[in-house]
């Protein structure tokens, strides 16, 4: 990937065998005039080299055992955890969201859709709380956005006590206005308690330009 000298913000894109939204995310990062850097699942990296990290979607490790379970325990995640501990912003999209929950960096779990179907459609989402890193003021609390979803295991689940904690601490990032998959409390995305780590099932990188069918994903990266 060509890199021009004015691209100073470095965004790490974590790749596993089976990741398939990595190039879309890299092009999104480039379109925002930042520098995408691919990070391989077997490697560790110097956390000081990156301004933010994105874990893109796909079917990492074939979704074996549980979606995101094996990826969450691969060597690169040691550095991802370190990055999180330093307060670095991390975004998990779709399978990336599943990986971050399996890694314990975001609360809850994502299980198979209630309908058993893989669902590929546009969804309307209501923003419940703002992330301090992703979308910030531009993805405003109370606003509605339209993004595509494409998943088989997208039903958000958390035991009652954890769900209450997620709600009470303002960690619900967004909800579906029409629940497509049986997610508890219509949850489509959640935040870490410091709001720097964020995960969502919809795909912002698939809604950047009019020709894609919508532009609401554009503000997710600064």
């Amino acid at each position: 990937m060509t890199v021009s000298s004015n691209k100073t913000t470095r965004v790490g894109i974590v790749r596993f065998p089976g990741t398939n939204c990595d190039r879309d995310v890299a092009q999104f990062v480039e379109a925002k005039l930042s520098q995408p850097v691919y990070l391989w699942h077997l490697d560790q990296f110097d956390t000081k080299d990156f301004d933010s990290l994105i874990v893109p979607g796909g079917f990492s490790y074939g979704d074996y055992l549980r979606s995101g379970a094996l990826s969450a325990r691969s060597p690169v995640m040691k550095s991802v955890r370190e990055f999180a501990q330093r307060g670095g912003p991390i975004l998990g999209i779709c399978n990336g969201f599943q990986i971050l929950t399996e890694a314990g960096l975001l609360p809850g779990a994502l299980v198979q859709n209630r309908s058993l179907n893989f669902i590929d459609e546009w969804s309307v989402l209501k923003i419940e709380n703002q992330s301090s890193s992703w979308g910030g003021e531009k993805i405003k609390k109370g606003s509605q956005i339209r993004l595509p979803i494409a998943h088989g295991d997208g039903r958000f689940y958390a035991p009652a006590d954890l769900l209450k904690k997620i709600e009470d601490q303002g960690q619900v990032w967004m909800r579906y206005t029409e629940n497509p998959n049986g997610s508890l409390s219509d949850i489509a995305g959640v935040l870490s308690s410091d709001k720097k780590i964020a995960g969502l099932m919809p795909h912002p990188e698939r809604a950047l330009f009019e020709w894609m069918g919508g532009t609401d994903g554009w503000e997710f990266i600064a």
Binding site: L65, R66, A69, R73, E102, G108, A109, V111, Q112, N113, R114, L116, Y157, A158, P159, L162, G182
Partner: protein, 79 residues
């Protein structure tokens, strides 16, 4: 030594696979009233440290990797 780890979805979780299999079994006019689907994982560990140490290690593996406590329970069976 060989162990089996049985991983089942927690009762509170809607077991979508189990529901689908149950539906098919009912369609086949079997007397099945309910069905749940989980996983069975066979693992073999190096013969060192005695049985209780190995069992403790398998518990550790099951806890940290093979099951997600939010959605599943597990049980270890000596094979």
């Amino acid at each position: 030594m060989k162990f089996g780890v049985k991983v089942m979805p927690r009762e509170v979780i809607l077991d979508t696979q189990g529901r689908a299999v149950e539906q098919t079994l009912k369609t086949l006019n079997t007397p099945v009233t309910s069905c749940r689907v989980g996983k069975f994982i066979e693992i073999e560990v190096a013969d060192q440290g005695g049985e209780s140490a190995q069992l403790a290690m398998v518990h550790e593996i099951a806890k940290s990797v093979l099951h997600n406590p939010l959605i599943e329970n597990y049980e270890i069976i000596k094979l």
